[in-house]
């Protein structure tokens, strides 16, 4: 039996999975009876999760392996509840999957269901590919975007023929909104991009004929930026990457967010 004091001293180590199996059992026995230690352990686990929160590229085919190993469902029907269904084609992933409540909840083990899950994963991968793979070239100089007052963006929203571009992450979270006016001026309207360290900067790209052209640096905490689209070709997309301070000639990683013009 472990005392509260002994267990408490080991909670941080336990949260890192750094105790041996004997101590692990003793701590677990204590945790079952001690809400104070459970709360402290949860706090340590949150820190451990933050430490481990880097993200690797998911290997191709891993989801398919998981989906193929899902065991058969039990025979009894569950009560009706919200389930996820796909609507539309795989290319419409953004709006394709919705919750709805069927009259009777069907089982999820049919081949059709598995294919539908696979389609979702493929569609998600396709979105990532669109954001990441098509935007890999740039060929101009890098400069910081001009500062512009919020009033400029508001005024641009009243110009006839303006276009609003919502720039979203691959998870369809809107991270920024731009407005483009027919004269070629563009303005950052809103930004929810989190502040970066001083060693990094957000960089704005325009995609013209499949090539990513740097439109300039948005800084570590984007707000009130203006830019000009020169030449006769206008971008079909806007995208944002995180780059080392000073910017990059070509995107060094995938787009954090992109939006169709």
């Amino acid at each position: 039996m472990m005392t509260h004091q002994q267990a408490s001293e080991l909670l941080a180590v336990f949260a890192l999975d750094a105790v041996d199996s004997d101590e692990q059992e003793l701590i677990e026995a204590h945790l079952a009876e001690c809400p104070r230690c459970r709360a402290e352990l949860d706090a340590h686990r949150d820190v451990a999760a933050a430490l481990g929160n880097s993200v690797g590229q998911l290997p191709e085919g891993l989801w398919s392996s998981i989906a193929s190993r899902l065991p058969p469902r039990p025979a009894e029907e569950p009560p009706p509840m919200p389930t996820l269904v796909r609507e539309g084609s795989a290319h419409e992933e953004r709006t394709a999957t919705r919750f709805h409540t069927p009259r009777t909840a069907p089982r999820r083990t049919s081949r059709g269901r598995l294919l539908s899950v696979a389609s979702l994963a493929v569609a998600a991968a396709a979105v990532a590919a669109v954001l990441g793979v098509n935007l890999v070239h740039a060929n101009n100089q890098i400069s910081s975007l001009h500062n512009a007052s919020p009033a400029s963006a508001v005024a641009a929203l009243k110009v006839p023929g303006h276009k609003v571009v919502d720039v979203e992450s691959a998870r369809h979270v809107e991270l920024a909104q731009f407005v483009l006016v027919p004269s070629g001026q563009g303005y950052l309207v809103t930004s929810k991009l989190p502040t970066l360290s001083s060693a990094k900067t957000y960089q704005l790209w325009g995609v013209i004929n499949g090539r990513a052209i740097s439109l300039g640096l948005l800084g570590q905490d984007p707000h009130g930026a203006a830019f000009t689209l020169g030449g006769s070709s206008h971008p079909s997309k806007l995208g944002i990457t995180v780059e080392p301070a000073g910017g990059s000639v070509v995107p060094t990683g995938s787009m954090l967010a992109a939006g169709t013009v």
């Binding site: 001293e9 941080a12 180590v13 949260a15 890192l16 999975d17 750094a18 041996d20 949860d42 706090a43 340590h44 686990r45 949150d46 820190v47 451990a48 999760a49 933050a50 430490l51 481990g52 929160n53 880097s54 993200v55 690797g56 998911l58 290997p59 891993l62 989801w63 392996s65 998981i66 899902l70 065991p71 569950p78 509840m81 919200p82 389930t83 996820l84 953004r94 999957t97 919705r98 909840a105 999820r108 269901r113 539908s116 899950v117 979702l120 994963a121 990532a128 954001l131 990441g132 691959a170 998870r171 369809h172 991270l175 989190p194 970066l196 360290s197 995180v242 990683g253 787009m255 954090l256």
Partner: protein, 191 residues
């Protein structure tokens, strides 16, 4: 009608409990990269990290009730599962030997691979900063335990330091990290 991207993690797990494979696929899309990334970092092996990732998601499918939203985020829960399984794997003698052989030729490619998501990037930035700000002896003890999968007894032997001192360093370092992350506004550690 609610789009899947707007559904909360807790709602997704409820749907998983009702055998929704699409919900599990969405959980995988949101958190699979983190689960795999951590396992790969600890194991230094892509194939073993894939095994761990499969185990974590199959376990969520089979035992979704083990996730208690009152005790933390789904990401924290899945990462704890991923880490525990990776550590189990690495503590077998053979895996340890293989890892030590790989460690000798570890390259930059085995380092953090930043997320595509702004939130993860910003978090990684803050965590790196908080870790770098720790006193060196606390940081070293935490890194050896967490990223190398060693017990605190092994860490003590490696550092030629008493076990009690290593326990204290890890506990103090974790508390310091938590305070720094709360101060930096990182959500999920400020409950």
């Amino acid at each position: 009608m609610e789009q899947i991207g707007e559904v909360s993690d807790a709602q997704l797990v409820t749907a998983v409990a009702r055998y929704s494979e699409v919900a599990l696929a969405e959980v995988y899309r949101r958190h699979g990269g983190a689960v795999y990334g951590l396992a790969r970092r600890v194991l230094n092996s892509a194939s073993e990290a894939e095994d761990v990732t499969q185990e974590v998601f199959l376990r969520l499918w089979n035992q979704p009730d083990r996730f208690d939203p009152g005790r933390g985020t789904l990401r924290s829960f899945l990462l704890a599962q991923s880490h525990a399984r990776a550590v189990d794997a690495i503590r077998s003698l053979n895996a340890r030997k293989a890892r030590e052989a790989k460690d000798a030729r570890r390259t930059a490619s085995a380092e953090y691979d930043m997320s595509h998501e702004a939130w993860d990037l910003a978090l990684a930035d803050k965590v790196s900063g908080a870790l770098a700000d720790l006193p060196q002896d606390e940081r070293r003890a935490i890194e050896l335990a967490y990223f190398d999968g060693r017990t605190y007894v092994e860490v003590a032997a490696l550092l030629d330091t008493p076990e009690g001192t290593v326990k204290s360093r890890i506990r103090n370092g974790m508390r310091r990290m938590r305070a720094a992350l709360v101060e930096a506004g990182v959500q999920g550690v400020d409950a």
